[in-house]
Symmetry: C2
Subunit: 258 residues, 2 copies
DNA sequence: CGAGCGGTTGAGGCATGTCAAGAGTTGTGG
DNA sequence: CCACAACTCTTGACATGCCTCAACCGCTCG
């Protein structure tokens, strides 16, 4: 654990309000560690031993079943993930792997539970974090069930623009292959859909997204606060929900890469 | 508020551990009320004024966007719903309507928040409840993204049998139209799929389900603890997750019935 | 330089949605 | 108590969204 990491963690919504001595104690039991790209940090079904905090890099949360798997979310700094499993002391429902070289902090879940039993302020923080995670997941489910793939792609592109400050142009934060899985579709279909959307006010050039006609795109998307956020809390916190990636559906899965 | 309702509420996971005086105080501020079938209790986007507890009857949680809507869950007694919105004091993300004549308790969300700030045991209960809700939602999302419609139907049928105690035969707890929306498909498609499944070890006669070849059906479903439960807590609690109904996808929505 | 991988594009097929019609059931009002 | 209306469920015919497979390009990295 490097001392210079502590202030950043301390200011996370999850750790901001707790008593100083509890924070100190929790951090003392925790480990900071660097991981190379592509490392599987967590396998679904494993016991939840540690709450994970991403300090640098990025982590993909994904789920597997039968011979398929799909991206559920991508976690960016500084956020936590798999809070729910730690709280319930239950098996992870999702796996996690680093997308790039990343630096994480691992907080033992037993100590975590002990602290929130004794620190009301921390308990409130945990509750708020979890509620934000839950709501983000509900939004994802709504998007999956209520929108078709073209609408999901368009709303994603528009939302990213908004999150970046209503910019006209930005760079996709994840590779398209992963984005496709998050959005519940195949890479081929995403590619075609991005092409089709050029007549609807957004152009894609490689990894760069350019909003060419925001009004037109907005009309197509019909953005809905109850699906597309905000909930600024969820953006910063979440079981992994700066929420870039998301949720593919039945096909939209990919063959598991052994 | 009828006095005879209190013991049942008191034994809910959410209210079981809290201090007696806090429970009393909370119930004093709450209202119990009967509602006819088909009444819209909550409209998505409304401010979260009350935590709802279903004492009798059943309540559908559904989501709407554009001119579509879909069933997200069905809540049976004795369970609570929309806990997350109450905690965050944020707008409801889902709407709710009674499926039959129902008796509910409404707990003012402001009082709720106040109590869990002052009662650590209650705070822990809320955290556990929320974590269970979150995990249930993750399971739903996984099922939607990793399984096709036939697999979702088959796993649903098998799971209901298990929940009823591995019975060979049982009655569907909700109408098929709603089940279809929960599972992310159209009623027509569900009807056809149920027919097709007769060769896979399960027969449907009206509302009755008969497992004719459990081994065969199980082989088809490949049940997975990380999707199909248990998590017995989630069954009793949840933002409404005795989890009968569930989640339809893009089509799988239905035209909104004005 | 060549293997590997992400991305794109095209051809083709299957799963699933849409539309339409009819039987059975339930609830309501005359 | 019956008749009609409304609704669910089912089935068939048809349309289409999305997936699959395959080929190819371009980039990255060993």
């Amino acid at each position: 654990m490097r001392q210079e990491d502590l202030p950043e963690i301390r200011q996370l919504p999850l750790f901001r309000a707790m008593a100083h001595e509890n924070f100190e104690a929790l951090m003392e039991k925790s480990y900071a560690q660097n991981f190379p790209a592509g490392l599987e940090l967590i396998r679904q079904g494993d016991p939840a031993d540690f709450l994970h905090v991403v300090l640098e890099g990025s982590v993909e949360l994904f789920a597997s079943w039968s011979d398929r798997d799909c991206t559920m979310a991508v976690v960016h700094p500084v956020s936590t993930f798999i809070l729910a499993a730690c709280i319930k002391d239950a098996p992870y429902l999702m796996s996690a792997r680093t997308l790039e070289r990343s630096r994480l902090i691992l907080v033992p879940s037993g100590d975590l539970r002990q602290v929130f039993r004794g620190d009301p302020d921390f308990a409130v923080s945990v509750i708020n974090e979890l509620a934000a995670c839950y709501r983000t997941m509900v939004r994802n489910a709504k998007s999956l069930k209520l929108r078709n793939s073209r609408e999901r792609v368009a709303s994603y592109l528009l939302r990213q623009s908004r999150l970046a400050g209503d910019v006209v142009s930005y760079i996709l934060p994840v590779e398209k292959r992963l984005l496709a899985s998050y959005l519940g579709m195949t890479p081929e279909n995403l590619s075609r859909t991005l092409r089709m959307l050029e007549k609807d006010g957004v152009k894609i050039d490689g990894m760069r997204v350019i909003i060419t006609d925001r009004a037109k795109l907005t009309a197509l998307v019909q953005p809905d606060l109850l699906i597309d956020g905000p909930d600024p809390d969820a953006a910063s916190a979440g079981i992994g929900l700066p929420m870039i990636g998301g949720i593919p559906r039945s096909p939209g899965t990919r063959r598991r890469q052994a």
